[in-house]
Symmetry: C3
Subunit: 209 residues, 3 copies
């Protein structure tokens, strides 16, 4: 198992837990909670693979995704009070996942010869698409459209760095590590320093609060 795979599966565990808690907050039944766990984990990559005409979709080729999500969800169902205690620390593996999924999305698109703009968009979709679908299925406006956090923006910045380093001529492995580390750092620094995206308002345009 490569380092990317290891981080990938860790991210899946964290995203599945987030999906189950999102369902629990809305008092969904066990089926709804399972769907939200799956959608949070697999939704972004699925949109990416559909847009890139990649068949089979990644989770059809590697069934471990399906099983990891199922087992994580069942454990969370039965040990929800214990899992709840680790929730405040999940922003760290979540930030790692954010970096890894952006990188995977960019790599898959770059391998198809697509231009950098498209690759970066695919990276962002891979990283944040699942959470968006989860929110839509929970009948909520997507959190990342409202919470003003530096989340998708971190992915965008990481995507920019990826292609910048490519042009500079760094070797691939260093670029990959740098991209993930950069997204991770932006995310953590923005949380620590409470950096916020501006809001858009119809009367004043961009506003800080």
């Amino acid at each position: 198992m490569t380092a990317i795979e290891w981080f990938d599966y860790t991210g899946v565990v964290v995203f599945a837990i987030a999906g189950v808690f999102s369902a629990a907050e809305r008092r969904m039944d066990a089926f709804g909670a399972l769907v939200l766990a799956y959608v949070t984990c697999l939704g972004g990559g699925t949109i990416r693979d559909v847009l890139l005409n990649q068949y089979p979709i990644f989770w059809m080729k590697d069934l471990s995704y399906l099983w990891i999500i199922l087992i994580t969800s069942l454990i969370t169902f039965f040990l929800i009070r214990d899992v709840k205690k680790i929730l405040p620390y999940l922003f760290i593996p979540d930030a790692v996942g954010l970096g890894i999924y952006t990188l995977i999305g960019i790599q898959k698109s770059a391998a198809l010869g697509l231009p950098p703009e498209i690759c970066v968009i695919m990276g962002v979709i891979t990283a944040v698409g699942g959470g968006m679908i989860r929110d839509v299925l929970s009948n909520q406006p997507p959190l990342i459209f409202h919470n003003q956090e530096i989340y998708a923006t971190a992915c965008l910045a990481g995507g920019g760095l990826f292609f910048l380093l490519h042009r500079v001529g760094w070797n691939d492995q260093v670029i990959h590590i740098s991209t993930v580390a950069f997204i991770f750092m932006i995310r953590l620094v923005s949380i620590r320093m409470n950096l916020k995206m501006p809001r858009v308002t119809a009367d004043k345009g961009l506003k800080r609060k």
Copy 2:
């Protein structure tokens, strides 16, 4: 016309009626009601065909789907009070449709050589995906995430039976009939006996009510 086709089209009529009533409850206009009818009927199979990279989508090849939905919707528009009287009995053809669509989804995926886990997921998506999209387009949380009914779970169980009987070595036609009958029976028994899925809550995990 085969028995599967006959049941398929009957299911389409029932799902189209459900779509129009869903629109009527929210006082949508005639265009919105038509879209909900189409989406309820064709949404699940469309997601399946897109994920399986099947082109043309099933309703592009067999235009009778489009016409059956249009005619059913128009009749429902004009005779809505009469159609309303048969609503309490529609759970029976709805349960048949559930079984048939799960079977069709499984068959299509199995024909592509996909593993059983993926086939079962495609069966469930075919059967319940349309209703989910309809609820999202109606700005409602999907009913099947909240109502605790044995609905998608019946499809999952039917999918399990399908592959169990395959391994046992039964012949195809018997497997198909058994799968649909099994889903139908689970659905009806669960309604009759008021069987419920547990809820997931953030403080206590799984709860019966």
Copy 3:
């Protein structure tokens, strides 16, 4: 640049502005506003290309879409009060866009040899799909399901005219101009004369108000 391309890009500018204002009304942050702008402009054509198994999606081939939307959104962010003043006049280029996108959707599908029914549906999806996704992502029921306006219906009528004129044997360019002009006229006449689609209600069926 052909006339169709020119109108296409103009439509993109108008749809992007509509997306940003939709976000501003809900006080979304800048990332949410950008996503809504992109989704309003590109959503319909993306659904169409995915359903038609067209890869690369149109905006992956012609990157000017991405840049026009970005620049329009940024200008709208910073000059929102000025842009607001032109909003009451945008229904005119919006009606042109409606016609153009319906035509593009029909043409793309007809070029694949699909039957007229499917082509018309693809035309409507191209024209109104983006606005629908935008509303879903804003946690709102799609406006065109509720507002009783002659909007998607104008696209349907235009699609009908397209194939009628084809059967009559007119030349292609005249058909294209007639289709767009017809949709544009229906839209403007229906606004001016306050023509409305009926509602569907569960107790009385179709109702004028």
